[in-house]
């Protein structure tokens, strides 16, 4: 039995991990120094969710993938130039803050509103995907709150594998403690899945997919609705960088035997 799913991927942008991040405090609370100048990426775990969504849509004929993305419009445009070349999707853009110091509850409310307003939405075919955590706030909370807004009670987090069985049930592998997976069987959509890394490599850039996607991406960005997302009720006392600098002792020109002895002594201490 082939089901044409409506797969909605929630994913936003984060600063390039190679950038040095410095917290600053402004009138509305903490943020990053030169935040709008930092090069951005699609959040890595959300990226995995997007690739898994495209893979599922390819195997389930008639399925469609939306990418619902909340972030500053100019930064979204920059990131979409790359992401749009990876897999086919339709962008729903929301213009608002995507930093780490916003509240997951406010982000989830904005995303839920956008998903509920999708034309032709059929909840019996709805699968909501996202990263199980972001690389900014790292809360791992947005998707569950979103599920509550949408009235979905089958939620899976740290997902590494999704299989659609012949009878339409979903077999899902979730990461749990100790390097193990919990295996669950869900009777079908609707469901919310927060993806860990999954098993798919990052797709190579495909200019043809990029051309097709960009026809929809630019209008979506132009009509992106402005949303206010902050952290109401939260007062930050401080945001600091860790004092992590160590006085590194560099051991050069030592024989492997001597190094090995030192390492073994250290391990046994």
């Amino acid at each position: 039995m082939s089901i044409a799913y409506q797969i909605v991927v929630c994913g936003s942008i984060v600063p390039d991990p190679l950038q040095t991040l410095t917290p600053v405090t402004g009138p509305t609370g903490p943020g990053l120094k030169n935040e709008m100048m930092l090069p951005a990426w699609l959040d890595p775990w959300a990226g995995h969710a997007l690739y898994e969504a495209a893979h599922l849509a390819k195997n389930q004929p008639g399925s469609k993938v939306w990418l619902v993305s909340l972030g500053p419009k100019a930064k979204l445009q920059q990131v979409m130039m790359t992401v749009a070349q990876k897999v086919p999707f339709e962008l729903i853009a929301l213009d608002g803050a995507a930093g780490g110091f916003t509240d997951a509850a406010e982000t989830a409310a904005a995303l839920a509103e956008a998903i509920a307003a999708l034309p032709g939405l059929d909840r019996s075919k709805l699968l909501v995907f996202g990263g199980w955590e972001s690389a900014s706030r790292g809360a791992g909370a947005t998707l569950q709150i979103l599920a509550e807004h949408l009235g979905i009670t089958d939620v899976f987090m740290g997902v590494d594998e999704l299989k659609v069985e012949a009878d339409g049930t979903l077999e899902i592998l979730e990461r749990i403690e100790g390097g193990r997976h919990q295996v669950s069987r869900c009777s079908g959509a609707p469901a919310v899945l927060g993806w860990a890394t999954g098993n798919l490599p990052e797709p190579k850039n495909n200019p043809q997919i990029g051309m097709t996607n960009m026809r929809g991406v630019m209008p979506a960005l132009q009509k992106a609705r402005s949303v206010t997302v902050g952290a109401t009720g939260v007062t930050f006392a401080e945001v600091v960088l860790p004092q992590q600098q160590r006085q590194t002792r560099i051991v050069k020109d030592a024989a492997p035997d001597d190094i090995a002895r030192e390492i073994v002594d250290w391990i046994k201490q």
Partner: protein, 343 residues
């Protein structure tokens, strides 16, 4: 006045895991610091009596429980229903719970359901007489923030390994049952089992005192112009067998598998440390064949003593990220290390 609910789920044997006892330590500390706070315990699981007896002397005014076969598996719908019922029965304003995979999955949704807010991955909980604040990390352990909240109930999910575990005597205690009826819609999902690597292939050991991290260098061409992947595998597995260390890897090494290159066969994304991987807690860490770039080393935030073996004296480990950097061939060093450990 705050009402603190310590919320925990039981393990398969009905007792509480160390992570739950650590969260209980944070909760009891809160209840003694806050003026006039009420302290209640809420437990969910198939049978909560052993857990209640285990923590009977924690000073709680009341023990509430949701139990039954429906609440044995870690399933969002049933866990969320049970947790919301416990929260409402306790009239909780602060909910302190362990950040286990089971609670990370359901409690943010429960907070939304009961009109509250949740903070996850909390590493420190502080209280003065009238104010609670929590600390947690942002941008993948690159900066730490401390904040307070006005919303109630406030769910605080305490990360394992961040607080001392509560200790106290076991005793007999009465658990007040909270009745919860699950609708059929809450049973659409069935937990059918667990996948665990075979005992000799289980390389992730959260309780190990040492983390060994393997970088992509293990699969690269060596001085003789050849790759030595089988030897690398054997050296790493021998080291893990001799030390019972936990194995981590860099993203680049794990990704090689997806790109069709020769890889270490026992590595999966579950071993990945860093920006898109885990941030484990171990007293010591030894990095091998890895340059220590920032996306990787953010995963080392909670490794206390760090040493690295790399051929590059200018790698990132040398710039204040490791305590000791050995500029050497990891194959030669690890071969000798294994010999010494086996002796």
């Amino acid at each position: 006045m705050e009402t603190i609910l310590f919320l925990a789920h039981t393990e398969a044997d009905g007792t509480l895991a160390p992570a739950a006892l650590e969260a209980l330590g944070a909760a009891t500390s809160l209840s003694t610091s806050l003026a006039n706070a009420r302290f209640i315990v809420g437990l969910l699981g198939e049978n909560v009596t052993p857990a209640a007896q285990q923590i009977a002397s924690c000073g709680a005014a009341k023990f509430l429980g949701v139990s039954g076969a429906d609440f044995a598996p870690a399933r969002y719908a049933s866990d969320a229903t049970a947790a919301a019922a416990l929260c409402q029965a306790a009239e909780a304003t602060l909910v302190v719970a362990p950040a286990t995979s089971r609670f990370n999955r359901c409690l943010p949704g429960v907070a939304q359901r009961v009109g509250g807010r949740a903070d996850t991955h909390v590493t420190q909980v502080r209280a003065t007489a009238d104010q609670v604040s929590v600390s947690r990390w942002y941008y993948r352990q690159r900066m730490e923030g401390t904040h307070t909240r006005t919303q109630r109930p406030w769910f605080i999910l305490v990360d394992p390994g961040t607080h001392p575990a509560w200790t106290g005597a076991a005793a007999t205690v009465a658990v007040e049952p909270v009745a919860v009826t699950l609708e059929d819609a809450a049973k659409r999902t069935t937990v059918t089992g667990f996948r665990t690597p075979a005992a000799d292939a289980q390389t992730i050991r959260p309780d190990a005192s040492l983390l060994l991290v393997a970088g992509a260098g293990w699969t690269k061409k060596q001085a003789d112009g050849q790759t030595h992947v089988p030897e690398a595998e054997q050296l790493i597995l021998d080291f893990l067998r001799l030390t019972r260390a936990s194995l981590g890897s860099t993203k680049s090494l794990v990704d090689l598998g997806g790109e069709g290159q020769a890889v270490l066969s026992f590595l999966s994304h579950l071993n990945q440390i860093g920006q898109t991987g885990a941030t484990p807690r171990h007293p010591k860490g030894l990095s091998t064949c890895c340059h220590g770039e920032e996306p990787h080393t953010v995963g080392w935030r909670f490794i206390n003593e760090r040493r690295a073996i790399s051929l590059d004296p200018n790698c990132s480990w040398a710039r204040g990220k490791a305590d000791v950097l050995y500029v050497a061939d990891a194959f030669a060093v690890m071969r000798k290390v294994n010999e010494l450990l086996a002796a």
